[in-house]
Amino acid sequence: MTIATTTSPVYPLTKEDRRFVGLHLVIAFSALVIGSLFGPLQALEHAGLDLYPSLERFGIQSYYQGLTLHGVLNALIWTTFFITGFLTLVVIRGLQRPLALPWLNRLGFWMMVVGLVAAAIPILLNKATVLYTFYPPMEANTWFYVGLTLVVVGSWIEGWGFYVTYWRWRKEHGTTRTPFIVLAALITMVLWQIATLGVAAEILGLLLPWSIGLADGVDPLLSRTFFWFTGHPLVYFWLLPAYVSWYGMLPKQVDGKLFSNSLARLAFWLFLILSTPLGFHHQFVDPGIPSGWKYIHSILTFSVFFPSLLTFFTVIASLEYGARKRGGTGRLAWIKALPWKNPSVTAQLLAGILFVFGGIGGLANASYNVNLVLHNTAWVPGHFHLTVGSAVTLSFVGIAFWLVPHLTRKPLWSPKTALVGVWTYFVGMLIFSNAMHTVGLLGAPRRTTLGLAPYVPPEWTGHLWRVGFGGTLMWIGLMTAVVVVAVTAFRSTRLPEGEYVDVPVAESIDDEQQVPVWLDRWMPWLVGAAVLIILAYGPQLIDKIGGMAPTSPPFTP
């Protein structure tokens, strides 16, 4: 067996807690399966094979209805449910105590479920074919907005449950340093709660009143500004839980240690303060925002690469440390000594490799003059399938390979199949994302049924075929991995009595208790985050809210 078991887990979760975390995963993976169904259909449409007519009898009326499901279920639901579930486990296991107010976390969870249902019904009825960015004045059914709000507020409530639990722990533990994974989990939730203030303002302040007829019009630019206040840090909300694993768990899985506990913390704090005040880099090509502000946000965007570069170093150093302990040698040959047979490790290593490509492309997106060429081209989905679609999704799948055995006390079904799945996804992703980047550079727009577009030149065709081929491979790979997770969850074979798959929590080379206190204090960082946001957004928000022109009436998609 490639997922190690133990007879003495450090802190076994109660049955209720395991079920509670498990419920998150059931919804997360269901969303991923349904959402991903449209991935290859989109890719094949680009390659000239339009399968959408045969979907009509299942109630899917158009490519764009499918794309709405793809974006909402994959980018919003799969991520949010997996993350809240995983971080619940991290908080309980990291602090080695149960949730302080279990009812609060359960309230949050069920609110998210109700929200999901409320948003999903109009999408399935083709009453909310507005894509996952729901830019007004294209208008969705009111329940779509209500549902999204409930999902967000539910996730906030789960976060509040973490804070109370942490608070209780803190009161009993004086100046003991917060365990790294817990600090990282809490920072992730705080980042999310700061970030989602934007979309909360958009939905509650602009879209809901407009959707129920209290306001005649909406201001599309203000709405976009609020949306992208959330939209960029959103990607860090997706990414940081993967980093929790890369820093705090993966080293243990490769018999290594976290290279630097202090710098790992520093990276998370930097993400907290830097990831929000740079949303205008998604609006470089919007009219109505002064180019000076775009430039400032562009520079700030480069700064948020810094903690990612820190992460790159620390994670590689931690892996190398483990690989050398496993007998690895050489400048790079140590890589071979990593436990590549362990699908949980391999999934996360492949996620990391794809993320390096994603990071390089991200630097291009961030440069505002380069962005001018790439904006809204196929380059952009090419880019974020490497980030949220790979670094995040493949890491979460890798985590699930030990998390599901941990929760169910069942051994992972067929690690070999799991390996085949993640490698296939990896190869498919290389082909797909390379083709999407290339055809985007050649000018192909995103969010477009290219099969119907009159302007597609012959040079795009070969690349679009590669999009179709790579996309199909990705889907086969991902579904193979998901089948492994599902069979593991629902099989009847259990681990032998007294054996457990424990949560892999890595020790660090430097002593956690010697970490500087300023890396364990909230106030300075929270104040820093607030100040940067006020500086980077304040003047423009005052200007845009003051000069709001709610002149756009609603249009149905």
Binding site: S62, Y64, L67, Y135, P137, M138, D219, P220, L221, R224, F259, S262, L263, L266, F284, V285, D286, P287, G288, I289, S291, K294, Y295, S298, I299, F302, F305, F306, L309, L310, F313, A317, A366, S367, Y368, N369, L372, H375, N376, T377, G443, P445, R446, R447, T448, G451, A453, P454, Y455, D510, Q514, P516, V517, W518, G547, A549, T551, S552, F555, P557
Partner: protein, 167 residues
């Protein structure tokens, strides 16, 4: 026991320094491109009322304005589901052409292929960018933001003509 200091491994310190330098270089490169090479992004231009913009000058008569023959042109383009007005026009090669685009309904995109003109066309706002066509030929402009079922067919083209002749 001192716990205020951050201990950093020497290799990691080098990496940190290199990272910061790399990012500074990128920042400076963007600054040079933006301020010295004059690469422009859309900025604050003008607000309009999307409900009435098509009835008021200059948008009531969209299309090309010749400012200096052969040299300076302006083009006003209205984006509405699922077409641009005008969806075709001509300018001479080498001319500086300034595009003004706005939407009368939902959000659209405007990307002029093989040039630096690529921006959002939002209801209520005017997007403006200038480009010079160096080569004669036909350039498509396409809608790059999902605007509804017909989004994929929303496109037009510029014909760039040789002086005194055709493309």
């Amino acid at each position: 026991m001192t716990t205020e200091e951050l201990h950093v491994d020497p290799a990691e310190r080098n990496w940190i320094v290199a990272s910061i330098m790399l990012l500074v270089v990128f920042g400076v490169a963007v600054a040079i491109a933006g301020f010295m090479l004059g690469i422009q992004v859309p900025t604050e231009e003008q607000r309009v009322d999307p409900r009435t913009v098509a009835q008021e000058a200059p948008w009531s008569n969209p299309g090309v304005r010749e400012l200096v023959p052969g040299e300076e042109y302006e083009v006003y383009i209205l984006a509405s589901r699922f077409s641009f007005v005008p969806n075709t026009f001509e300018v001479p090669v080498g001319a500086r052409v300034t595009f003004y685009v706005t939407s009368t309904d939902v959000q659209h995109g405007f990307k002029l292929q093989d040039t630096n003109v690529n921006f959002m066309a939002l209801p209520g706002q005017v997007s403006k960018l200038t480009t010079t066509f160096e080569e004669p030929g036909t350039y498509s402009y396409i809608c790059t933001e999902y605007c509804g079922l017909g989004h994929a067919v929303m496109a037009g083209s510029v014909t760039v003509t040789e002086p005194g002749g055709n493309a």
